[in-house]
C-alpha cells in the first residue's frame, strides 16, 4: 500500500477514478500550493487503471482566457489551423484529461464562468468563431480551494467530492524531487508507487453492487446532520454521498452498498461523525488503526485527562524520537476535520461579492474602457484598442476568397477590410483604491479584522486595488513602515499583513509618508483610479520621528517626546493639501479607538488629514500592551 498520502485521500481519489461520482470534480481543501502535482499523478494512474485510456494533466492558471480554454486558430505552415483549448483537448477516443486548478479563488472571472458551464454537465457545448461542437466531457477536475468563502456557492456546488490535501512529508518531498530530476534526465515518466491500488481498481470497475434501503436512509441522515454546521441544502448532496458509497462498495468487493459503505464514504469526505453514546460500540473509524499518524483518543485515556484533550497512543515515558523511528512514516491530514462540514461554503463567513459570476460593469462613465484586463475580443468600427491578433485571425479566414475575387491586388500580401477589425473586450479597469494605514501596535489582530471589515468588504466587492501601509509590525524594521501594494484585496500578502503581530515601535509619520507617496502616484499619474478610500487605524501615538525613519538611525539618548506625533501631523497636513486639490472622489477616515491616555490624538490626526472620525469606543480596553 502506498504511503504517499493518507489512506483517506487515496480512497477518495480511487473512488473518483471509478467514475461513479459524476461529475468527476474533487475539491481539495488545505492543499493549495502543496502536492497538487503529486496528487494529480496518483489520480492519473488510478484513472488509467479504471479506464485503460491515456490521461493527460493540464493546469488552469489565473491568466488563462477564453481562447486558452476553448481553443483558437493559430498560424500553421502558411495557413491557420485550430488549436484545441485546455477544456476541449485530450478527449478523443481513448483519451481523458485531468484539469488541475491549484487555487480556485485565483482564477479569472472568464475561467470561472467557463468552468461553471462545463463542470457537472452531461454535455459540453462549444460555439465560438465558426466552430460548433457538443460532446460528452471526459474531464476530471482536481481543484484546490482554501477560500470557499470567496467563491460562488453555485460553482462550488458542482464539486461532488471534497477531500483534504495531502501534505507530503519532507522525506517524501525530497524523494519526489529526486525522482523528477531523474525523470528530466531519462525523459521518461516516473510512475508513483500505488501499491495494490491498481489491482483493487481493476477488480472494482466491473462490480455493480445494489444499494440497500437502510444505506439510503443513512445517506439522508448524514446530509441532515449538516444542518448543525450552518449548512444549506442542495439536491446534489444526497446523490454525491450515495455515489461515493457505491464506489466504496466496489473497492471493497461488496455486492451490496450497506451501512458501513456509507459510513466510510462519509468519513472519506469528512462528514461529522455521529457522537457515540456511552454504551455504544465505537464506529469502525474510531476502532480502526489510523495509519495517518493522527492523535488517537481512547476511552481509558479520556478518564485521566482533561475533557477534550487528545493524548498520544503508547507509553508517555518513552523518548519521542524512539517512537518516531519505530512508527511508519506519518502523513497527516492538514486539519482535524471531524467536526466540520465538507460543504464549507455553508458555514463560511461570506466574503464574496453578490452575483460573482456575472460580467462586471464599469461604475464610472469615464474613458477607462481601453484600460481594463483583456477578456476577449469584439467586432469594432474603428482602430481604437485594436486587437491585432484577432483582427488578423478574422482577415485570414477570407484570404483565399479575396485573392480569387481580387486578382489585381498583390497576391502575397494580406488583404484587410474594415469588417475584419476586432477590438479588445475588457473587464472594467480598477477604478477604486483602498489605502489602509494600519498601526499594528494599537489593536490586536482579531479586533483589527472586525473594525476593518466594512472597508475590506468595500474593497472586495468593488474590486478595488489595495495599498496597505503596515506601521509597527513585528517582522519589519522597527523604525520604518512597510508598504504592500496589490491589485486586489484577496491576495496572500495582504491577508497575511492584515494579521501582522505588533512590534516595538510605531513609525506612524513614516507610514503616512508612504501613504502620501502612494496617493501622489495614484492621483497624479493619470491611471484609472477614480475613487480612493483612505482609512487610518491608529491611536495616534507615533513614537518614531520621520527623520529617524528616513535615515534608518535613531539618535541615542535623545528623548523622542512628541516628535513622532508632530511629524505625523505634518505629513497628514500634506496629504490634506494633495487630496483637497484632487478631482478624485476621496473618503478619508481615522478609526478612533478612544485609547487612553492621549485619546485626542486620533481626532487631531483626522483634522490634519481633512477627514472624518469613525468612533470605535466599544473596543476600548482591548489595547495591545505597549
Amino acid at each position: 500500500m502506498s504511503r504517499l498520502f493518507s489512506d483517506r485521500l487515496l480512497e477518495g481519489l480511487a473512488c473518483a477514478a471509478l467514475g461513479t461520482h459524476h461529475p468527476n470534480g474533487i475539491l481539495l481543501f488545505n492543499a493549495v500550493g502543496k502536492d497538487m502535482q503529486e496528487i494529480a499523478s496518483v489520480w492519473r494512474e488510478m484513472i488509467i487503471a479504471t479506464t485503460d485510456d491515456t490521461v493527460d494533466i493540464v493546469y488552469l492558471r489565473s491568466w488563462h482566457d477564453d481562447e486558452d480554454l476553448w481553443g483558437s486558430y493559430l498560424p500553421v505552415a502558411g495557413t491557420f489551423a485550430r488549436k484545441e483549448g485546455l477544456l476541449t483537448g485530450g478527449q478523443a477516443e481513448g483519451q481523458r484529461r485531468i484539469v488541475v486548478i491549484p487555487e480556485l479563488g485565483n482564477l479569472s472571472l472568464t475561467a470561472m464562468r467557463s468552468i461553471s458551464s462545463i463542470l457537472g454537465m452531461e454535455t459540453a457545448y462549444l460555439d465560438r468563431h465558426g466552430q460548433h461542437h457538443d460532446w460528452i466531457p471526459k474531464l476530471y477536475w482536481l481543484v484546490g480551494c482554501d477560500r470557499p468563502d470567496a467563491i460562488s456557492p453555485h460553482l462550488l456546488d458542482r464539486f461532488g467530492l471534497r477531500l483534504h490535501g495531502g501534505n507530503l512529508s519532507a522525506t517524501k518531498r525530497s524523494k519526489n524531487i529526486l525522482a523528477q530530476l531523474e525523470e528530466g534526465l531519462s525523459n521518461e515518466r516516473t510512475l508513483p508507487d500505488l501499491g495494490d491500488w491498481i489491482d483493487k481498481l481493476r477488480t472494482a470497475r466491473d462490480r455493480h453492487p445494489t444499494f440497500s434501503e437502510a444505506a439510503q436512509n443513512l445517506v439522508l441522515d448524514y446530509i441532515d446532520r449538516l444542518k448543525d454546521f450552518g449548512s444549506g441544502y442542495s439536491g446534489h448532496r444526497d446523490i454525491a454521498l450515495a455515489r461515493l458509497a457505491v464506489a466504496v462498495a466496489k473497492l471493497e468487493g461488496r455486492d451490496e452498498v450497506d451501512l458501513s459503505c456509507v459510513e466510510k464514504a462519509a468519513h472519506i469526505e469528512g462528514f461529522p461523525m455521529p457522537k457515540p453514546t456511552k454504551n455504544e460500540a465505537p464506529s469502525i473509524h474510531q476502532t480502526s488503526n489510523r495509519l495517518d499518524g493522527e492523535f488517537k483518543e481512547t476511552q481509558t485515556d479520556r478518564q485521566q485527562t482533561p475533557e477534550g484533550t487528545p493524548v498520544y497512543g503508547g507509553s508517555p515515558d518513552r523518548d519521542r524520537e524512539t517512537i518516531a523511528a519505530e512508527m511508519p512514516e506519518p502523513t497527516r491530514d492538514a486539519v482535524t476535520e471531524e467536526e466540520t462540514s465538507p460543504y464549507r461554503e455553508d458555514a463560511a463567513d461570506i466574503d464574496r461579492e453578490a452575483a460573482s459570476l456575472r460580467l462586471p460593469v464599469s461604475a464610472f462613465s469615464t474613458t477607462n474602457a481601453a484600460k481594463g484586463v483583456i477578456t476577449g475580443d469584439r467586432p469594432a468600427n474603428d482602430t481604437c484598442d485594436l486587437a491585432i491578433t484577432a483582427t488578423l485571425r478574422e482577415a485570414a479566414k477570407y484570404q483565399p476568397i479575396r485573392r480569387i475575387n481580387h486578382p489585381e491586388k498583390p497576391q502575397g500580401r494580406l488583404m484587410l477590410l474594415c469588417t475584419d477589425l476586432r477590438a479588445h473586450q475588457r473587464a472594467p479597469a480598477i477604478e477604486r483604491m483602498l489605502l489602509l494605514v494600519l498601526d499594528c501596535t494599537c489593536l490586536n489582530a482579531s479586533d483589527r479584522q472586525k473594525v476593518l471589515k466594512p472597508y475590506t468588504e468595500w474593497a472586495y466587492e468593488s474590486r478595488a486595488s489595495v495599498c496597505l501601509i503596515l506601521v509597527g509590525a513585528k517582522k519589519a524594521d522597527y523604525l520604518r513602515a512597510e508598504k504592500i501594494v496589490a491589485g486586489k484585496l484577496d491576495t496572500l500578502r495582504i491577508r497575511t499583513a492584515l494579521t501582522a503581530e505588533p512590534g516595538k515601535a510605531t513609525p506612524l509619520a513614516h507610514g503616512l509618508e508612504l501613504g502620501l507617496q502612494a496617493l501622489r502616484h495614484k492621483l497624479r499619474q493619470g491611471n484609472t483610479i477614480q475613487e480612493v478610500a483612505m482609512v487610518v487605524l491608529t491611536d495616534g501615538r507615533g513614537n518614531v520621528p520621520l527623520k529617524a525613519s528616513l535615515s534608518g538611525e535613531i539618535e541615542p539618548f535623545l528623548p523622542v517626546k512628541r516628535q513622532g506625533i508632530e511629524d505625523a501631523l505634518q505629513v497628514a497636513d500634506r496629504i490634506r493639501l494633495l487630496t483637497s486639490s484632487s478631482r478624485h472622489r476621496m473618503y478619508v477616515a481615522v478609526l478612533d479607538l478612544h485609547a487612553e491616555p492621549y485619546s485626542d490624538l486620533p481626532r487631531e490626526l483626522a483634522r490634519a488629514l481633512g477627514g472624518g472620525i469613525v468612533s470605535l469606543s466599544h473596543l476600548n480596553g482591548k489595547e495591545v500592551p505597549r
Binding site: D66, Y73, T79, R82, E84, T88, Q91, A92, E93, R113, S114, S116, S117, M121, E122, T123, A124, L126, D127, R128, G130, H132, H133, D134, W135, I136, K138, S152, P153, H154, D157, H208, T210, Q216, N217, V219, L220, Y233, S234, G235, H236, R237, D238, A242, R243, V246, A354, A355, L357, R358, L359, R378, P379, K397, Y398, P400, I401, R403, I404, T419
Partner: protein, 323 residues
C-alpha cells in the same frame, strides 16, 4: 476535437435521466409541457437554487419531445455562432459555406427549443441580439459580406440561479412562463429522488440492467407525448369564454402587469392546460393553476426583489376568481 460528439446516428446517448422519471417538480414540468402545447407562450424561465434539477429537466424534455437535445446557447458563444457566419474551415479552402446560427437552428421543425443555461450570466451583447430577434421573429443578417433574412420561431427556455443575479426586465418579459423551483427537502421526496438516480446509474452501468428501466421510461414517454400532441392539436378548439377573457384582463390589472403579454399568456396557458386536461373550455381553475407562472415575473416588484409569487398574492387571486 472530442470524438464523443453526440450522435453518430444523430441521437444523443441516453445519459440524461428520462423526463418521465424525474421525481416531483410538477410546476416545472407543467410549464414545459404547456409551452410545448401552445408554442406561442414564447418560453419558459426556470429559476432555482443549485441542485434543483432544472437543467436535467430541460434537456430531458428536449430529448422526449424532439428526439434530441435542445439547441443550446452556451456562455462561450461568439456572435457569429448566435447569428450565423461562415464555416471557417471551408473558408480557408476558398469555399464560402454559410453556417446557420443557433437561433436559426433552433427554429427548425425538429428542434424548436433554444435553451440557455445560466441565462442570467449571459453577456449583455448576446442578450441584446436575442431580444432584437425574438421581438420581431425576423433575423436580419448583414455581416461578413452576407445579407440574409431568416424567420425565427422557437421556444426560449432559460435556467438560472438567482444567487448569481436577476435578469433584465426586457429579457424577463420574453419568457411566457416562469417557475421558481427549489430542491426537494422532504425526506420522502429526497429518498424517491435518490432511489431514482441510483436506479438510473445502475441502468447506465450495463445494457442488461438498463433494458427494463429504459423500456418503462420509453413507454411512459410515449404515453405522455401522445397526450401532449393530442392537446396541441385541439388547443384552438378549446373555448375561452368572454367572462374568462375579462377575468384575465382584470387579474393582470390587479397585479399591476404593465405588458399586455401578461394577460395574453395567462389566457393562452390556461387554454393549453384545458386542452391537456381534455376540457372543452377554459375555467377559473385553469386560470388559478397558471396565474403565478404567467404573471409573477411581470409584476413591478420582480425587478427589485426577483421573480416571486408571495403568500399575499393567493388570497387576492382567490378573491378575483370568486373562490
Amino acid at each position: 476535437m472530442p470524438s464523443e460528439v453526440l450522435g453518430s446516428d444523430g441521437k444523443p446517448p441516453d445519459k440524461i435521466l428520462p423526463y418521465t422519471r424525474i421525481v416531483g417538480q410538477l410546476e416545472l414540468k407543467l410549464a414545459l409541457e404547456l409551452s410545448y402545447i401552445a408554442k406561442k407562450i414564447g418560453g419558459v424561465l426556470l429559476s432555482g437554487n443549485r441542485g434543483s434539477g432544472k437543467s436535467t429537466a430541460v434537456r430531458a424534455f428536449g430529448l422526449l419531445a424532439y428526439d434530441g437535445l435542445p439547441v443550446t446557447l452556451p456562455l462561450n458563444a461568439t456572435e457569429d455562432r448566435i447569428i450565423g457566419g461562415w464555416n471557417i474551415d471551408a473558408l480557408m479552402k476558398a469555399e464560402p459555406i454559410w453556417q446557420d446560427g443557433l437561433m436559426v437552428q433552433a427554429s427548425k421543425p425538429d428542434k424548436q427549443i433554444l435553451y440557455i443555461d445560466e441565462v442570467n450570466l449571459l453577456d449583455d451583447r448576446v442578450v441584446n441580439i436575442i431580444l432584437d430577434a425574438t421581438s420581431t421573429g425576423i433575423l436580419d443578417i448583414q455581416r461578413e459580406g452576407e445579407s440574409r433574412r431568416e424567420d425565427i420561431s422557437f421556444t426560449l427556455i432559460g435556467t438560472m440561479n438567482p444567487e448569481e443575479g436577476e435578469l433584465r426586465p426586457q429579457l424577463l418579459d420574453r419568457f411566457g412562463l416562469t417557475v421558481n423551483i427549489s430542491a426537494a427537502k422532504k425526506a420522502e421526496d429526497r429518498k424517491a429522488i435518490l432511489k431514482t438516480v441510483l436506479e438510473f446509474d445502475e441502468a447506465l452501468s450495463s445494457q442488461d440492467r438498463g433494458k427494463a428501466f429504459f423500456e418503462v421510461a420509453r413507454q411512459e414517454g410515449k404515453d405522455l407525448m401522445d397526450k401532449l400532441n393530442r392537446a396541441k392539436e385541439r388547443l384552438y378548439g378549446v373555448k375561452v369564454p368572454d367572462p374568462i377573457a375579462d377575468k384575465c384582463a382584470e387579474i393582470a390589472e390587479k397585479f399591476e402587469i404593465e405588458s399586455n403579454r401578461g394577460e395574453y399568456t395567462l389566457a393562452l396557458a390556461a387554454r393549453a392546460l384545458a386542452a391537456y386536461e381534455d376540457a372543452n373550455e377554459v375555467n377559473k381553475d385553469h386560470l388559478r393553476k397558471v396565474a403565478a407562472m404567467s404573471l409573477q415575473h411581470r409584476q413591478p416588484r420582480a425587478a427589485q426583489s426577483g421573480i416571486i409569487w408571495i403568500k399575499n398574492d393567493d388570497p387576492i387571486l382567490d378573491e378575483l376568481l370568486g373562490a
